[in-house]
Structures are given as structure tokens and as C-alpha cells.
Symmetry: C2
Subunit: 276 residues, 2 copies
């Protein structure tokens, strides 16, 4: 059911200041086509917004956020670099589009009536999807969720609490808090994942003896200060905080804590009849 025709970007939020000059020049992108359609396209376009965005995502998936450059994407499409700028106002806009496109992937399920199960599914879906595109975490800071896919997800999420007679404010707080937790968790997990990649790369060049030496020395230094008893215990126990299993369980742990707290607040809320 791909009714993607509607491009409901929240006004202003989508356009960064430095884009605005260009935006005015390329008004055709938003205005012309929509209502007046004064002319049919005079020429079959070789490039398209969607194609560009998809290619950018493919590159980012394969080689990370740093690999996404206008020149690189143009090369990937066998096009001139500047051709992209007919379809996309700036790289900033491209990043916004990439972000919103990915959010389309974690389509939330229709509300089942069991809000706890629904929100759990949503959270797990978000997490899984974000892990497929870890480069997203490099962009997301300072990039407001203003696109149509984000709006749809917000709409669906609010729907989870329909039968509970929560006031709007509380529903939004809950939805925001859940999103917050998932974002934070994935942020941390991506951090840890990257560390591990680097670590493994370096460890591969070392002998077993060298590895133990480095870790041993570090542990010893921590212990020697006497000021890090908990860390020393941790290091001594050989606890691996970054195992995949540990990671999943920790995510569920935090999610359960959060949902317990939310459930208590929902239960304490005026049921049925009405609420200010």
C-alpha cells in the first residue's frame, strides 16, 4: 500500500536556512508540479529524487556516512555531479530525505488493542531498522523529524493509546519517551558496535601475548589508582559488556523498566468517562 504521493513535510522544519535561497530558485520542486501542472515534463528525466536518495542510502549502508558525497553518488548513477542539484536542493536536503526514507521502513503495525505489545513491537522494529542503517546516527543529531514518514509513525503510535482515554498531553509524553529510549539505546549500541569493529581490526594484528599484555597493563593501571574499585572488579571478572546477547537483553531490560513505569501511570489515570 504505497500511497507515498503525499509529501507532508512540516513547514519550515524541512528547510534549513542556507537552503532557502536555492529553494526559492527551484520552486518547481514543490510548487509547479503540484496544482497548476502548467506543463507536462518536456523531456523524460534520466534522474529522479527517489533514485538519488536510494543510491545514497545504498552507499551509506555499504561504506558508512563519510562515503556519501555528491560526487560519489553521481558517479554511482553515471551522471554529472551537478545534475543532482536539479532534483535536490542541497546535501542537507538529501540527508533529510535519507532519514525520512529509512523511517518509512519501520512501518508500525496497526494497533492491536494491547498497547504494551504494540509499543514493544514498535520499539523493537525501530531498533532493528536503525541497526540496518547505523550511519543514520551520524546524521540524526540536529535533524528534526519533520518528514511524512515520521508523521505517519507518530500518528500510528498515538493510536496505540486510543482506548485508554489518556489526554493528548500524556499520550505524547509517552510516545516521545519511548522514542527517546529507543534512540538512546541504538545510539549507545552503535557506539559499542563501532568500537568493537575497530578493536577487532587492531587485535587481528597482534599476537595473543600482546593482547593480554595490553589488557593486563590497563587493568593493572586501573587497579593501581585504588579509585576505581567497581571497574577493577569488572575488568577482573572478564565481563564482556558488548556481547550481542548482552546487548539484546539490556535493551529489553530498559524497555521493560520503562513500560512498567508507563503502565503504572496509565493505570492511575482517570478511566473512561472524560478527561480535561
Amino acid at each position: 500500500m504505497d500511497t507515498e504521493d503525499e509529501d507532508l513535510w512540516v513547514p519550515f522544519l524541512a528547510a534549513r536556512p542556507r537552503d532557502r535561497k536555492a529553494e526559492r530558485l527551484r520552486a518547481h520542486l514543490r510548487e509547479d508540479e503540484r496544482r497548476g501542472q502548467r506543463h507536462p515534463p518536456r523531456r523524460a528525466a534520466a534522474l529522479s529524487r527517489d533514485e538519488i536518495v536510494r543510491t545514497a542510502i545504498k552507499v551509506a549502508d555499504a561504506e558508512g556516512a563519510d562515503a556519501v558525497s555528491m560526487r560519489r553518488i553521481a558517479r554511482e548513477l553515471n551522471a554529472g555531479t551537478m545534475s543532482l542539484y536539479w532534483h535536490i536542493v542541497s546535501k542537507e536536503e538529501l540527508l533529510d530525505l535519507m532519514l525520512d526514507a529509512v523511517q518509512g521502513d519501520w512501518e508500525t503495525p496497526e494497533p492491536s488493542g494491547d498497547w504494551r505489545r504494540d509499543t514493544q513491537d514498535l520499539a523493537r522494529g525501530m531498533r532493528a531498522s536503525l541497526h540496518e542503517h547505523p550511519w543514520l546516527m551520524d546524521f540524526i543529531g540536529g535533524r528534526p523529524p519533520a518528514g511524512p514518514k515520521s508523521l505517519r509513525n507518530l500518528e500510528r503510535t498515538l493510536g496505540f493509546f486510543d482506548g485508554l482515554n489518556l489526554d493528548m498531553r500524556m499520550a505524547i509524553d509517552i510516545a516521545a519517551t519511548l522514542g527517546t529510549y529507543v534512540m538512546g539505546a541504538v545510539l549507545r549500541e552503535v557506539q559499542e558496535h563501532n568500537s568493537q569493529s575497530y578493536t577487532e581490526q587492531i587485535l587481528a594484528d597482534m599476537t595473543e601475548a600482546e593482547r593480554e599484555k595490553v589488557f593486563g597493563e590497563f587493568t593493572e593501571r586501573v587497579r593501581a589508582t585504588g579509585r576505581y574499585p567497581h571497574l577493577a572488579e569488572l575488568l577482573g571478572a572478564g565481563y564482556d559488556p558488548d556481547g550481542a546477547e548482552t546487548r539484546d537483553e539490556r535493551f529489553e531490560f530498559g524497555l521493560d523498566c520503562l513500560l512498567d513505569g508507563i503502565a503504572a501511570r496509565i493505570a492511575g489515570h482517570p478511566p473512561a468517562t472524560s478527561a480535561g
Copy 2:
């Protein structure tokens, strides 16, 4: 109590792969000075690591993450660009150092014995400190917390649960979950803050009538689809999700939910005696 002499960077995590060649060349930064100190410095250094990091933070605070470039920081210090590279291996390392330096700011208080109050203080302190350096959210993805300040904060946090006889695993899960929540919350808040700045900038150029027209049209489009009842209600109510007061209350709401869930798990834990 600035006992900053110890630079306990977690081995490997601190050094990104592409830094390693340079790292080997500039071994003096880590090795020489530490133990052998074969020579006293032959010359009074005009620059220092700390000074560079402080300047970078100052620039980032004033003008955002994008303004931090090696050339810019050198100019700020009246130094040649390449002079920085004697003290710092790469820009990547500089970012790591900036991140760890900021984490030194939110010094966690000594444990008071009331874990809930302590963790609340910690969370609020983290949040306040992160808001003072919103550029941090642009870097933090993919940058592991491996520096001495992060380690100290982890150590302190684990200390909050000392009297409760939690096993190490649970204590870490709790600490990680709290950090996760705060990071996620600040991430979202910084996003919203940035959106608002942009929005205000744009609104300033418009007349009141234009503003209402744009918002009205957007609201109408949302309503017209019929598929966004909750959003339509939201927009119709003129609810402002980004007010500062709303933001604070939402943070506390989520934090309370989380702490309630954690408290329940701590209460249900084997008290005293022992635990695996």
C-alpha cells in the same frame, strides 16, 4: 581536586584505525614522557593539548560543530595549522578529547546512600551539561566513551548501588539504561531546539498573515487526508510540543517512569546475604 594526571584511555577504543600510522610515528605523545622521561623538554612549548581542546570547545560552543576545523582553531591560537598535529594525532582524536573533556564537567556527586536521588541528580546533571554543548550530539554517534572522564563517571554511577547487593550485571544494566535514556532525551531535545532556531529565523521574515496561512494550509492538508486524526487534533489544539516547560516536564516524566521500573526490579532482588 584536579587529579587529571591519569589518562586512562581504554586501549584500542581511543585509537581509530586510520590514526594508527600517525600514532606510531608520534609515540612520544603517550610513551616517552610517561616513564622514561629521557629528556626534559628542550623548549617551552607554545601550544598544548589542553589548550587546543579548550579552544576547540570554545569555538564549537559559539558557532557549532561545523565551525571546528584545524585551520580555524590554529587561527584562534595564532599558530600554524600544522603545529596542532604535533600535539594531536588527527581531528578524530581532537573530537574524542573534546567529548571526554565535556564529560568531565558533569562530575557526578558522591553517593549519598539514596540511589534514586543520586541517579536523578546524575541524569539532570548530564542533561544540563549536554545542553551547554549541543554540538556534542553531532559527534557522539560512533564515538565510544573510552576516556578517563567517562570511566570515572561509570565508576561513580556503579557506586550508587553499593548497599543494595545487586550483582554486577544488574548494576551495569541499570547504569547503561539511565545513560541511554538521558542521551536519547538530549538527542531529541537538541533536535527540537535546532528546529526551533531555524523556524524562528524563517518566521522573523514573514508577516503574521503569511505565518497563519502556511500553518493553516499545512493543517488543512493533514486533515484533508483523513488518515491523521491524532495529528489533526494536535494541530487544531495549537499544542506546542517544544516549549521549554513542556520539555523539562517530559524529561522528568520519562525519568520517573524509568526509575519506577528500576525500583521495582531492585526491590525484587535478593537482599543482602549474597548474589552470584
